[in-house]
Symmetry: C2
Subunit: 716 residues, 2 copies
C-alpha cells in the first residue's frame, strides 16, 4: 500500500489579512496612524475639533480635519460645538465664527488666501486656531495643520502665517477630449468626458483635495493644442459639472481657446482679432461660458505655435489676439494666459531666441487681465536649460512661469526624477536686470516689476492610473510644483522631505537617504541624457530614448543634430556673439557670462558654445573625456539609487516598494541605453578613444539607431 | 462688544473611519466576512486548511483558499500540515497528495480540468476534499468551494463533480499596442506594453485569478484587427512576461496573427499561404514564439474581413490560410482560431449570408488544430439576432462560439445590460439539424458533431478602469461568459444570482429583485434600441446612440437604412425566399419557420420580413403601434430598474451604490433619446400617428440627426 502516514505537523501559521493596499492612490494625504510613543504631541495637541459654519468649503475643511485627525490619531476625534477642554482645535473666518472674530489674529495682512495657525488661549483653554479671511484660506490652513502632524512637527506654541506669493497657481492638463493625454505617462485623462456630466467620478473630488492641499487654485482642463469642441454647449455642461466639484476646494476651471473657434464653431469666415464679428462672437461665447461656470477662470492660449492658429494668421500681433479675448473676459474678472512658447515655421533663426524676439516688442501692449506664460527655459522643458531670457525683459507685462511636471524629456513615468531642484534652479536664477538678487522668482511673484497679476503653471502629470502620476515618486513633482507656486522661494529639499514623510515614512533612516536620493535624481538624468548643456537629443516624436543622430525631420529645429552640432572639431551650439547671439537676450552681465566660454557654467557649456573635443575642462580632462564620464556617472548614480531603495524594503509597504524597485530597474537599463547610444554616436564623430577604464557601449551604433518605439505613450 | 457666549454644546459625534472603499476592484472575489449567525455552516465546515504541494498552481490555490476562507471567516484560518480535527479542508491531485491519492474519488471521469469537492471521512475526521487530476483542476475546485461559501450554500454532504464542456475558453482582447481598446468602454488596455516586461502590474495577477475563478483558460492579448509588431521579439518578450503571470492560473496566452506579417516583418514579397517562403517564415516565427512562450496557445485570425489581409488576396481559401498557420503550430500543440466574421467588399448579397456562403463549402478542409470562430448571430453582436446559420452547418469543422462581452451595441459602460440571457438564448437555439434538441450549445460543446476541439470566445470588456469593466454590473457579463463557456447549458438566471451574492449581498430582499432586474435588462435594451427584429440602427463609427437615418456610408451594408429598409409601405429586411433568401441557410424546419411571416417569432419579425406598417400583430395592434409601444416600454423598464436599485440603498456600500445609480440615470436619459429619435425618424416614414396616450418625441427629428459624438470611446 502506497499510503504512508504523514509524520510532520506544521504549527498553525498565523495568517493576517493584508491591510488596505498601499497603491499610491492616497498620495501625500495618507493619514495613517502615528506612533503615539514617538510623537506624543498629537494626543495632547488635538483633543477635540470645534465644528464650524457649513459653507461648502468650510465643510470640506472640517471633513478633511476629521478624516486626517481621526486617521492620524487612530481613533475618531470628537467633534464638538464649543471648546470643552485643553487641546481644542477650532477654525473659521471672522465672518463664519464669532470666536475667530474676537481673537487677535491680525488677519488683514494675510490677503484673500492666506491663513494663520496659532496656539492661543480661548475661554481659558489651550487651543489651536486655524483662521483666514476666506473659506479657502481656512481650507489651506487645515491642510497645513495636518501636514504638521504628518511630518511630526511640534503642535505647541504654533505661530504660523502663510499666504501665497503668486495669485494664479494652475495645472495645465494637456488632455484631449478622447482622453489621450499629450505627453501623459499616467494613463488616460482623468476627465471622463463621455460620462460627464451624468457621472461625477469620486476621483474628481480627490483631485481637488490634493490640489488644495498644496495651494493649487486652478485647473486648465484641456490641451493647449486646443479643440474648439470643448467650447460647445455639450462640453461646457461637462466642464461645469467638474467646476461644481472643484469650486468647493478653491480650484477654478479654465479652458484652452482655439483661436479659430469663431470659424469652426461660429461659421465666420475669419478669426481676425480686429474683426468686429469675431470680437462679438468671442464676447457672446465668453458670456455663455459664464452662464455655465460663474467662476470660470479664463483661457489658456497657444497661438501661432507648432501649427496652432493665431492672430499672426491675420497679420495681427499676439497682443491683438490676447487683448480680444481679455476684453471678453474682463467683465467677468477672467484672465487670459497667453503662451510665449512660439517659434516660427519660417524664420531660420535660433529657436531659443524666437519667443524673446516676438514678445519683448509687445511689452506694455497687453490688457490688464493678460498674463504671458513663459516656459522655464528657452527651448522646451529639457533636463537642463538656462532660464528663459524673457524673465526680466518684460517689466510691463505679467509673466507667469510654465513648468512641466510630466516628464516628457526626463524619463516618462519609470525614471525616478525629482523635479524640485530643476524648478528651484530656474526660480533662483538671477536675471540681474535690477542688480543682484533679481531672481526669476521675484519676476514671477511680482516683486521685481510690481506685476498686479502673478502666476505659475505646471503641465500636469496626472492621469487615470491608480497612483495618479504613473509612478509613486512622480507624485512628488505634482506636490513640489504646488508648494513652489505658493512660495517660489521655498527649498526643494525641504519640500522633498515633507513629501517623503507624508507619503512614506518619518523614520530617520528612511527620510535622510531618500531625500538625498531624490535631490540627486535630476542631475543623474541630466548626466545620462544630456550632460554639459546638451539638449533635445531625444528620439523623434515620442521623445523616449536617445536619438542624437536624427537629422531628417521636416523642420531643422526639430532635429537633435540642430542642437548638438557635433562635428569632427567639437560639439555644442554657439549662441555667443559669433554664433546665434542668443546670449545678447540676457541682461548685460548675464550675457557677458554666457558669451564667454570660460565663464559659462560647465553644466550649460554646450548650450552656449561649440567647444573643441580637446578643450580642457576645469577638471583638467578633455571635453570628450568629461562628456563620457558624465554619461557614465549618470548610470552609476541610478545604480546607487537602486541600492538605496533596496535598503528600504522593511520600511515601505510591499506594493509600493515593488513598483518603485521595478521602475528603478527599468531606469537603470534605460540610463545605460542612453549612455551607450550617445557615446556610440558621439564617438563616431569625435573619433576619440574612451577614457581609460570606461566600458564601451554594449552594442554598435547601428543597434541603437534601429530601435523603434511606435507605441510609446504620450505622443503629441 | 460683538462676542456672545456660545450657548449650545454638541455631543461628541462619533466618527468612524470608512472601511476599505468598495470600488469594484475585487470583482466577485470579495470575501467579506459572513454573518456567522445567519450562516453557521462556515464555522463548523472549515476549521483548518491542510497545506499541500507547492507547485505554482497549487500554491496559488492555497493562497486563494487562505485569502478567501480567512476573509469570509473574519479570522485567519489555520494552515496545518495534516488533518488534526473535524472540519479539515484538503486539496490536491493524486500526484501531489498522498492522502488524495488514497481516497476513492473516481477522478478518471473528470478529464484534465475537472474536479471534485467531496465531504469525506479521512483518518476518522470529517473533512472536505478538493481534488482533481491536474493542478489547475484543483484551482478551479478551490474557487468553486469559495463560491459555495460566498453564496451561503451548505458545506456538508458535498458531492460535487464538475468539468468543462468546452476545451478552449478564451477572452479576446481587442487591445491595440497603444493601449486603445477597440470597442472598449473601461479605459485603456490593461496591458501596459510600454512598461513590459520590466513592470508586472499586480493587476495582471488579479486578472488571471478572476479568469481562473470562472474557468477561463486562455487570453488573446491583441486585437483581431492585428498589428504585425506584436510578433516582433520586443513584443514577444513582453507577451512572455504576461504568460509567466497567467500560467500559474491556467490561462494560456494567444496572439492575433496579421496575415501580411511575412511581408511587413519578413520582407517577403507575398503572404501567399501556398508560397514555400511564406510557410517557412511562419514556421520559423512560430518556433520563435514558443521559445519565448513554451505553452503559447496559438493564433486568432481575422482575415479578409473589413480590410484585413488574408488568403483571398492571393486567390486562396480561408482553409489554405488557416492550415498554413496550423501546420506551423501543430508541432507545439497550438491551435488556430479562424474567424468566420467575413463579408465581402464587393459582393452585393445580404451581409447576413456571406459567412455561411464562404465557409460551408470549406467544411472538412481545415486541419485538425483549426477552429472556426463564429459570432452568435449572422450580422454583428446586435441586441438581438437569430442564431448564426453556420451552427449545425459544418459538422466536420469545429465551430467555436464568439460572444461579445463588451457592449459595443448595447449601451457601452453605462447601460445596465446583463448579457446572460442573450448568451443563453443563442446557446439554446435549436438548429434542428439532427432533430429536436440540436442546440447551438451542443454544436459548440462538440456533442452534436463529435468535434474533438471545442471552444468559446468572449470579446473582453476589461480595461484599466478601477472596476475592470467600466461599470459594476458589466462585471457580471465577464462572469457569465466564463460560467457559460464552462457549461453552455447553464442557466443565466442562476449565474446572475451567484454573481449578485458574491459581488453584493446575500440578503433575500436584495437578491430577488436584483436578479429580476438583471434578467429583464437585456430585453429593455432591445426594446429601446432595436425591437421586433430591427438591427444595426446605431450611429456611424462609434455605435453610440441612434442613427436609423444614416444612409451615406461608403458601404451599403454599413448603413442602418440597409438593415431596416423602412419605407412608406412598411419596415424590415426580407430575408425570405422572395428576399435575400438568407432563411434558406438554416436547416429546413428552421428555414420554413423563419421564411413564414406568420411563424417567425415576433421578436425577430423585422429581421426576416419587410412588414406593412398596418400588419396585425398577435396583440391585435398594428405593427406601427406595436413598434412604438416597444420603444416606450423599454424606457419604462429602465425607469423601473432605477426605482428597484434606489430601493437597495441600505444594502449596498455607498460608493458602488452611487455609481450604479448615476449610470442608471444616464441610461434612462439615453433610453429616452433612443426611443424618441427612432420614433421621430420612423414616424417621418410611416406617416402614422402615435398610439393614444403615448408621448411624442421630446425634440423634432432634426435635433437627433445633428447630434455628434466625435470622442465617444472605443472607436474601431
Amino acid at each position: 500500500m502506497k499510503h504512508r502516514p504523514l509524520l510532520f505537523f506544521l504549527a498553525a501559521v498565523a495568517f493576517s489579512l493584508p491591510a488596505a493596499a498601499e497603491d499610491g492612490y492616497d498620495l501625500w494625504l495618507r493619514y495613517r496612524a502615528v506612533d503615539a510613543t514617538a510623537y506624543p504631541e498629537l494626543a495632547t495637541g488635538v483633543r477635540e475639533l470645534v465644528t464650524g459654519a457649513k459653507t461648502p468649503t468650510l465643510a470640506a475643511a472640517e471633513r478633511e480635519l476629521m478624516r486626517g485627525l481621526s486617521g492620524l490619531s487612530g481613533t475618531p476625534i470628537p467633534l464638538v460645538g464649543a471648546i470643552s477642554q485643553d487641546g481644542a482645535l477650532l477654525y473659521g473666518t471672522p465672518r463664519s465664527s464669532e470666536v475667530v472674530a474676537t481673537l487677535p489674529l491680525d488677519l488683514a495682512r494675510l490677503g484673500p488666501e492666506g491663513y494663520v495657525i496659532r496656539s492661543i488661549a480661548v475661554n481659558g483653554r489651550v487651543a489651536t486656531v486655524i483662521a483666514a479671511n476666506s473659506d479657502v484660506g481656512v481650507l489651506y490652513g487645515a491642510f497645513h495643520f495636518l501636514r504638521l502632524i504628518q511630518t511630526r512637527a511640534p503642535l505647541h506654541a504654533l505661530d504660523i502665517a502663510s499666504q501665497p506669493r503668486t495669485r494664479i497657481r494652475v495645472l495645465n492638463h494637456w488632455d484631449n477630449l478622447d482622453r489621450h493625454v499629450e505627453r501623459g505617462y499616467a494613463g488616460q485623462s482623468i476627465w471622463d468626458w463621455h460620462k460627464l456630466p451624468g457621472w461625477l467620478d469620486p476621483r474628481y473630488t480627490d483631485y481637488a483635495r490634493a490640489c488644495a492641499s498644496v495651494g493649487i487654485n486652478g485647473s486648465v482642463l484641456t490641451n493647449v493644442n486646443a479643440n474648439a469642441t470643448s467650447l460647445t454647449p455639450a462640453y461646457l455642461e461637462k466642464a461645469a459639472a467638474l467646476a461644481g466639484v472643484m469650486r468647493t476646494y478653491g480650484v477654478r476651471v479654465y479652458l484652452t481657446a482655439r483661436f479659430s473657434a469663431p470659424i469652426e464653431l461660429g461659421g465666420l469666415k475669419t478669426a481676425d482679432p480686429l474683426d468686429p464679428a469675431v470680437r462679438a462672437w468671442w464676447k457672446a461665447k465668453v458670456d455663455e461660458i459664464y452662464r455655465y461656470i460663474p467662476d470660470f477662470g479664463g483661457f489658456l492660449v497657444k497661438a501661432n505655435s507648432e501649427g496652432q492658429p493665431g492672430p499672426q494668421d491675420y497679420r495681427r500681433t499676439h497682443a491683438d489676439g490676447a487683448n480680444m479675448l481679455a476684453e471678453a473676459l474682463a467683465p467677468h474678472a477672467g484672465v487670459v494666459m497667453w503662451r510665449a512658447f512660439v517659434y516660427s515655421n519660417e524664420t531660420p533663426t535660433d529657436r531659443a531666441k524666437q519667443a524673446y524676439d516676438e514678445f519683448v516688442p509687445l511689452d506694455g501692449k497687453f490688457a490688464d487681465n493678460v498674463l504671458v506664460q513663459v516656459k522655464n527655459g528657452p527651448v522646451d522643458f529639457q533636463p537642463r536649460e538656462p532660464f528663459h531670457p524673457l524673465f526680466g525683459a518684460m517689466p510691463k507685462t505679467p509673466l507667469m512661469m510654465e513648468f512641466q511636471i510630466t516628464k516628457e524629456y526626463l524619463g516618462f513615468a519609470t525614471h525616478l526624477t525629482y523635479l524640485g531642484p530643476l524648478y528651484e534652479e530656474a526660480l533662483e536664477s538671477d536675471t540681474l536686470v535690477k542688480g543682484k538678487g533679481s531672481t526669476v522668482a521675484k519676476v514671477i511673484d511680482g516683486e521685481l516689476h510690481g506685476y498686479k497679476l502673478t502666476g505659475m503653471a505646471g503641465v500636469a502629470n496626472i492621469g487615470a492610473d491608480r497612483n495618479w502620476s504613473g509612478s509613486q515618486f512622480d507624485q512628488a513633482n505634482w506636490y513640489a510644483f504646488g508648494r513652489l507656486a505658493w512660495d517660489p522661494t521655498a527649498s526643494s529639499g525641504a519640500i522633498a522631505e515633507d513629501w517623503l514623510r507624508m507619503t512614506f515614512s518619518n523614520e530617520a533612516q528612511f527620510v535622510r537617504p531618500m531625500v538625498a536620493m531624490m535631490m540627486g535624481s535630476r542631475e543623474a538624468v541630466v548626466d545620462y541624457m544630456t550632460p554639459l548643456g546638451l539638449h533635445h537629443l531625444m528620439d523623434t516624436g515620442h521623445h523616449y530614448g536617445p536619438g542624437p543622430w536624427v537629422d531628417n525631420l521636416s523642420r531643422a529645429d526639430w532635429n537633435p543634430t540642430y542642437y548638438h552640432r557635433a562635428d569632427a572639431n567639437g560639439i555644442g551650439f554657439d549662441r555667443g556673439p559669433k554664433g546665434s547671439d542668443a546670449t545678447a537676450q540676457y541682461s548685460p552681465k548675464v550675457a557677458a557670462r554666457f558669451a564667454d566660454l570660460k565663464k559659462t557654467p560647465e553644466n550649460l557649456l554646450l548650450w552656449f558654445h561649440h567647444v573643441p573635443w580637446d578643450y580642457r575642462m576645469s577638471s583638467g580632462r578633455s571635453l570628450w573625456d568629461e562628456l563620457v564620464l558624465h554619461y557614465t556617472h549618470g548610470v552609476e548614480v541610478v545604480s546607487q539609487m537602486r541600492a538605496a531603495w533596496a535598503a528600504q524594503q522593511d520600511r515601505v509597504d510591499a506594493e509600493r516598494f515593488a513598483q518603485v524597485a521595478a521602475f528603478l530597474a527599468i531606469q537603470q537599463q534605460e540610463a545605460q541605453w542612453w549612455r551607450d547610444a550617445c557615446i556610440a554616436y558621439f564617438q563616431s564623430i569625435s573619433k576619440r578613444p574612451l577614457p581609460a577604464g570606461v566600458a564601451p557601449p554594449a552594442h554598435p551604433l547601428e543597434y541603437y539607431r534601429q530601435l523603434k518605439f511606435p507605441y510609446a505613450p504620450g505622443r503629441g
